[in-house]
């Protein structure tokens, strides 16, 4: 893990304690997880208690304390998507990847997770892979789309 990237992120936010969440979001985006060494550095530079960092990292869903895979699958389970069958799509995604939401496969290829609304309700059911929205899913197309990623 490149600690210099973490240092830069902290400096870009002027080591402000109130920017803790923004700093953690930038680290999550850059490294795809929050390594413990990074959190130690953040605690030190921002002068915030580690207990608060622990709480913040586990309180907000955007953060992961374990490394994510190359491709992060986020299936929307918002109400509109739920009513259109997102539960069944989730089942097939789970069966195909072998993952429960929150897990990453041993080859670090896919991470599967659910998200509570992407705001693309007209396209429901929707999933987001690598920040790309894929809509109008059914149990068949969802599985087929996964084949495009390696």
């Amino acid at each position: 893990m490149d600690i210099k990237k973490v240092e830069k992120i902290i400096n870009d936010h002027d080591s402000e304690a109130s920017s803790l969440i923004q700093i953690m979001l930038d680290i999550q985006k850059e490294l795809h997880w929050l390594p413990p060494e990074a959190m130690d550095l953040v605690a030190e530079k921002l002068q915030v208690p580690m207990a608060r960092i622990q709480h913040t990292a586990t309180f907000y869903k955007a953060f992961s304390l374990v490394p994510k895979g190359r491709h992060e699958i986020n299936l929307c389970v918002g109400t509109a998507c739920h009513v259109r069958g997102a539960t069944r799509v989730l089942e097939v995604l789970q069966n195909t990847t072998g993952l429960e939401p929150g897990e990453t496969d041993p080859e670090m290829k896919f991470s599967l997770d659910t998200v509570n609304c992407l705001g693309c309700c007209a396209l429901g059911p929707v999933m987001e892979i690598d920040e790309q929205h894929l809509g109008r899913l059914d149990t068949g197309s969802a599985v087929d789309l996964l084949k495009n990623y390696d």
């Binding site: 208690p49 580690m50 207990a51 608060r52 622990q54 709480h55 586990t58 309180f59």
Partner: protein, 225 residues
């Protein structure tokens, strides 16, 4: 500090600005149950056992007495069928975690709460936050904190701090209304090896279960004796 006149259960009560409804009630010897409240700590408003009805300007709202500020001419109701039913259910929810807790049993008896209403949980932490808040506000150390949210919420020691500081301190242990805190500490100790520290003295820990002064629960037991 301006004087404020309010009514609690029909009784006229005087208070000063900055006091909470709970403060005013205690001053007037009116008992409202609490679990997460402690004299040395900022009011938390987490257990919600202290809910009361506050009526002002014709509108009634249910609020937590420990955090609600006194206001001129408000009328507070501390007992009613609805309030009692709510306190009963809230107690039963907590009893699922810690059926043996003396603090909870005392309230359960008053409100007819059934410790078997809900399925028992393996953890006996009721998330009152007394340990977390004590370590934050009084010790300013933050060796223990909350993690996660919702029903997954737990207390968690910061391993490094727990290893270095907690054994010599343990001031928060007597505050715990169940024995969850002691259990959490033992678990953390077992995960952080520290050959220089002595083994856990269970006898010493057992003695620390008594609630300290400042916890109204204890005052009430004394008064009723």
């Amino acid at each position: 500090m301006s004087n404020i006149s309010l009514k609690i259960d029909g009784k006229g009560v005087k208070a000063t600005e900055g006091m909470t409804v709970l403060d005013a009630a205690r001053n007037a010897n009116i008992y409202i149950p609490t679990v997460c409240h402690h004299e040395k700590l900022e009011p938390f408003g987490g257990c919600r056992l202290c809910v009361v009805d506050v009526t002002v300007g014709g509108r009634t709202n249910m609020v937590a007495a420990c955090v609600h500020p006194v206001q001129e001419a408000i009328e507070v109701t501390t007992r009613s069928e609805q309030i009692d039913d709510i306190r009963k259910m809230l107690t039963e929810q907590l009893l699922a975690y810690a059926p043996e807790s003396e603090v909870l049993q005392e309230i359960a008896e008053e409100y007819g709460a059934d410790k078997d209403r809900f399925q028992k949980e393996p953890s006996f932490c009721i998330l009152c936050g007394l340990c977390v808040r004590y370590c934050d506000e009084v010790k300013q150390l933050n060796a223990v904190g909350f993690v996660d949210r919702g029903p997954s919420r737990e207390i968690s020691f910061v391993p490094k701090l727990a290893q270095e500081k907690c054994w010599d301190c343990m001031e928060c242990f007597p505050l715990c209304p169940t024995s969850a805190l002691q259990a959490a500490f033992i678990l953390t100790r077992s995960l952080t090896s520290s050959p220089s520290k002595p083994e856990v003295d269970f006898g010493k820990l057992a003695e620390m279960k008594v609630a300290p002064e400042g916890h109204q629960h204890n005052n009430v037991i004394e008064e009723r004796k």
